[in-house]
């Protein structure tokens, strides 16, 4: 980024180092934020290419391109890379860049740890990706890693476990850093309830991360010792229970879902008020809603397992608790709706992505509510209906949230406005193709197509064709996104003002654009 020129204003001695060393040893939150975001974008494309392998194979019935073994490797790797490599690091990158600026702090609280937590990630994913070239191929048992199937993984197995460990360590360190930053680096007068929503949702997310990433690490460690060191946590023959893995996994897995969506809630809660030119409706109830979602996420895990064979009381409990999540989620959606109500809206790219988020995430919420109904879930479970559901919350949900954030803060990062016209084209292409990809999947699932199959009966041909065309279109549209970012990063565009948008709220808009290498070395005064 071109922040060197501005840092000269007050701190010529504190400017970034030159060349590769700057990035390898940097402890600057903005540099690390940039690294996270670039890493995430790279992973988004790697994971996306795998999605395109999947969709190309599924375009028509019959096998055309890959063998079933490789297909399973693709579905497994696609999920692991998108979840741990693309979505989560993107939000950590946004947190790094924005949280110190939003709370008026000079940097993250633990800058050195910040550097480590980033650089662990490329190592983790290097290991994970290297399994593609190993004997037996990459992991193919699904990202959920259910035993006993996952124990049939070839040489890749210990590397899978080790890379999950590294990802966990990275996100735990990142989460600790974010919490300590939020709690200890706030400018005087920035009380907790005055914090912007993005900071709030990240605070909750970070606690979720610390609570559940170690549990996942524990679960995969048990898999590892079951495989190599003679334990039998999940081996029935030794008194273990394969279903217990599913319980432990989803004890992690369900909060994980909110780890991937809560920061997007935060982003949207920043953007909608700016472009509606109206304060966020119900700030405090938003905080309570996010907290209740986080709490509820710990007691709903077994709704991923309604077909596993549970006593009736268990099913009832998990059905009711899951349905309850709709209440705080509804509060959030209604609050955004009320924020827009009687506003004075304009529709720049960040707003467009936020609005698409609002509509499409809500659709994902509806299918989520349907999935909560245990008897109906018997028919939905492990079908394309589920695939449609979680892609609706993850792609036009989390990913659109990330893209909205990127457009919203890009002028602050680069000092120039991104190309608004191209941004809008990118938005419309993404929005149309995302629906073309994932909406037909609802029908496929209801019609009886299981997920994770490389080939299917001919009756499913049409909708699969649509989904594949959509996926290819969506993938190509993202090249435009990269072009827009590169163009802005090169300083190619209209110079941005400090405020960038029309009277936005938040401390990040009080510093010049691009943000100097060091900001708020003297804490700002917070107005009442």
């Amino acid at each position: 980024m071109s922040s060197t020129t501005h840092s000269a204003e007050h701190h010529d001695d504190h400017g970034p180092a030159k060349g590769i060393k700057r990035w390898l040893f940097t402890t600057n939150h903005k540099d690390i934020g940039t690294l996270y975001l670039i890493f995430s974008l790279t992973m988004f494309f790697i994971g996306g290419s795998m999605a395109l392998v999947i969709r190309s194979e599924l375009m028509m019935p019959g096998l055309q391109f890959v063998h079933p073994e490789f297909f399973n490797q693709m579905t497994t790797m696609h999920a692991l890379i998108m979840v741990f490599g693309a979505v989560m690091p993107a939000f950590v990158g946004l947190a790094n860049w924005m949280i110190p600026m939003m709370i008026g702090g000079p940097d993250m609280a633990l800058p050195r740890m910040n550097n480590w937590s980033f650089w662990i990630l490329p190592i983790a994913f290097g290991i994970l990706l290297s399994t593609l070239f190993m004997n037996g191929g990459a992991p193919a048992g699904g990202w959920t890693m259910y035993p006993p199937l996952v124990l049939q993984t070839g040489n890749a197995f210990p590397f899978l476990v080790f890379s999950v460990h590294l990802m966990g360590i990275s996100s735990i360190m990142g989460a600790i850093n974010i919490i300590v930053t939020i709690m200890n680096m706030r400018a005087p007068g920035m009380s907790l309830l005055k914090m912007p929503m993005f900071v709030w949702t990240w605070l909750i997310t970070a606690y979720l991360l610390i609570a559940v990433m170690p549990v996942l690490a524990g679960a995969v460690t048990m898999l590892l010792t079951d495989q190599f060191f003679g334990t039998s946590f999940f081996l029935a023959a030794g008194g273990g229970d394969p279903v217990m893995f599913q319980h432990i996994f989803w004890f992690f897995g369900h909060p994980e879902v909110y780890i991937m969506i809560l920061p997007a809630f935060g982003v949207v809660s920043e953007i909608i008020p700016t472009f509606a030119r109206k304060p966020l409706f119900g700030h405090d109830s938003m905080v309570y809603a996010a907290s209740s979602i986080a709490f509820l996420s710990f007691i709903v895990w077994a709704h991923h397992m309604f077909t596993v064979g549970m006593p009736l009381t268990g099913q009832l409990f998990f059905m009711f608790s899951t349905m309850l999540i709709a209440v705080p989620t509804g509060v959030k959606v209604f609050n955004w709706m009320a924020t827009m109500w009687k506003g004075s809206m304009s529709f720049e790219t960040p707003m467009l992505f936020s609005l698409a988020f609002l509509f499409l995430f809500t659709i994902g919420g509806f299918s989520g509510l349907m999935l909560a109904i245990a008897p109906a879930d018997v028919q939905y479970h492990d079908t394309y209906f589920v695939v449609a559901h979680f892609h609706y919350v993850l792609v036009p949900g989390s990913v659109f949230g990330i893209m909205a954030a990127a457009y919203y803060w890009l002028p602050k990062w680069t000092g120039v406005m991104y190309d608004e016209k191209l941004g809008k084209i990118h938005f419309w292409a993404s929005a149309i193709f995302v629906n073309l990809t994932f909406f037909p999947m609802h029908f496929l699932g209801l019609a009886g197509m299981p997920r994770r199959i490389p080939d299917y009966s001919t009756q499913f041909a049409d909708f699969n064709m649509m989904a594949s065309i959509g996926a290819i279109g969506f993938g190509l549209s993202q090249l435009l996104f990269v072009y827009i970012i590169i163009k802005a990063a090169r300083g190619n565009g209209v110079k941005a003002t400090a405020e960038v948008w029309d009277n936005p709220r938040g401390l990040e808009w009080t510093v010049p654009s691009p943000a100097p290498y060091h900001t708020f070395e003297n804490p700002p005064t917070i107005k009442e």
């Binding site: 007068g189 610390i210 030794g238 004890f251």
Partner: protein, 183 residues
């Protein structure tokens, strides 16, 4: 930093240490879920696991009630055993001690060690199905081509919910070679 936020109560180093500790504790909690899960299963019958060690029970026979107990046998991963129940099912009075016999034969020409894993449906019945003696409590070694009878002594608790009229007991034979190899 000249001005400090007055809200800051815990120093950065202490706070970081506490959060790290929390992370480590949660890793431990992951492992704690294992015994918690067993307790949970025992309490609710979740998973359909009957007791895995001998239960001591007093007979308290309910002559007016008959419950059908069915037996299902499975051999896992094509392990070389023939394994079946002597009778497909039996009618039992709750609270009375019964004995059921299973027949197993090692089809290979080597010594093989089996572990039988029990499971019960309906899962609600699991905690009322008490075994006082069972071949599944320990591993069973079979010399080459050996055939032998295996016994289980059980009692169906008279507190078995009245809506349960059939209890199905399943045993799956696992070859322990894989486990032993690792040990």
């Amino acid at each position: 930093m000249e001005k400090k936020n007055p809200d800051v109560e815990i120093g950065t180093a202490t706070f970081t240490r506490r959060l790290l500790l929390l992370a480590v504790a949660m890793f431990g909690f992951g492992y704690l879920l294992v015994p918690l899960y067993s307790v949970f299963c025992e309490l609710t019958g979740f998973g359909g696991k009957p007791n895995e060690t001998a239960a001591t029970v007093v007979e308290n026979i309910d002559e007016n009630r008959l419950v059908k107990v069915e037996f299902v046998t499975t051999v896992n991963e094509y392990a070389p055993w023939e394994f079946s129940a002597a009778v497909a099912d039996m009618e039992v009075h709750p609270g009375k001690l019964y004995k059921a016999t299973f027949r197993a034969r090692n089809l290979s020409h080597e010594t093989k060690v089996a572990q039988a894993v029990p499971s019960i449906v309906p899962v609600q019945a699991a905690k009322y199905f008490r075994k006082t003696e069972c071949f599944c409590f320990t591993q069973q070694a079979f010399s080459p081509d050996e055939a032998r009878d295996l016994e289980v002594q059980f009692i169906v608790d008279s507190n078995l919910p009245s809506y349960v009229d059939t209890v199905t007991l399943s045993y799956t034979f696992f070859d322990t070679a894989r486990l032993a190899q690792n040990n």
